[in-house]
Symmetry: C2
């Protein structure tokens, strides 16, 4: 996009950083885009999400799911975080498109933290086929509504 005369996407300022961090802090689910290992094409599914201590999103997903197999084949993925409420225009509701590397996290060590934010996962947290991943950010795009687009760096969101 280097041939574009005006880049409509600005670097993040303090407000944008606070908005991005707030979207992650409040999210309990997200859309996860991976590369389908069978077809090498995108596939997007819904996953649970909680913020880690450092602001990096965490998820608990089953190794039986297609997205986990895809992350094993290619750990680079993308999350859409920030869900519209029941009212208003969904396209003006703030959301964060994050590109990230999915890394296996310390499931036992983070159990209390995860369950404090997502109590229902108590039912299956210890199942052997569930793994905890952290989405180490590579970069992202924050859309705060019409005309409010910001480029997000890892430093903007990791505490």
């Amino acid at each position: 996009m280097s041939d574009k005369k005006i880049d409509p996407i600005r670097p993040a300022d303090d407000d944008a950083r606070a908005l991005a961090r707030g979207l992650i802090a409040q999210a309990r689910f997200a859309a996860l885009a991976v590369i389908d290992p069978d077809t090498q094409t995108p596939m997007v599914t819904r996953i649970a999400l909680v913020p880690g201590h450092d602001g990096v999103p965490l998820t608990l997903i089953s190794t039986l799911s297609s997205h986990t197999a895809a992350l094993d084949a290619c750990a680079t993925c993308s999350l859409l975080i920030g869900e519209p409420g029941p009212k208003g225009d969904p396209l003006t509701h703030p959301r964060l498109s994050l590109q990230a590397t999915a890394e296996v996290a310390d499931k036992a060590g983070l159990k209390a933290h995860y369950l404090s934010l997502y109590p229902k996962a108590q039912l299956y947290y210890d199942f052997g086929d569930f793994r905890l991943f952290r989405f180490s950010p590579l970069g992202g795009l924050l859309n705060g509504g019409f005309g409010k687009a910001f480029r997000i760096t890892p430093d903007d969101i990791v505490a």
Copy 2:
């Protein structure tokens, strides 16, 4: 996944087909996953969505957006359709992960149809940088809640 002993994903039955078609019919936005042409990695953003006459989803998006540039480079993409309400467990809310080819659609011919379902787009429908795309389905995965996963074919959703 051919080495898996039990495939938890079933072929669609009439109820699954009706659910998938209903999710598309009701959706006015979705998550769109594309391949970022700069990095060849997934990127997921939010777009507007309406059902076409034949049940195939349509969107009106700006050529200035990063997802449109990505679709020009690689038209194979994925949509996550079906948004949780404000109550209940988001992971038990039905959703459709659709893999599709984005094709340029007849913007002028579909204007009345699109605006009847998405009146706010009247403000920018005729802007020269906006294009109408249809997402011709390649296949998909319908998740109707815990233990209710169905494989979706194009015939299951196209009228």
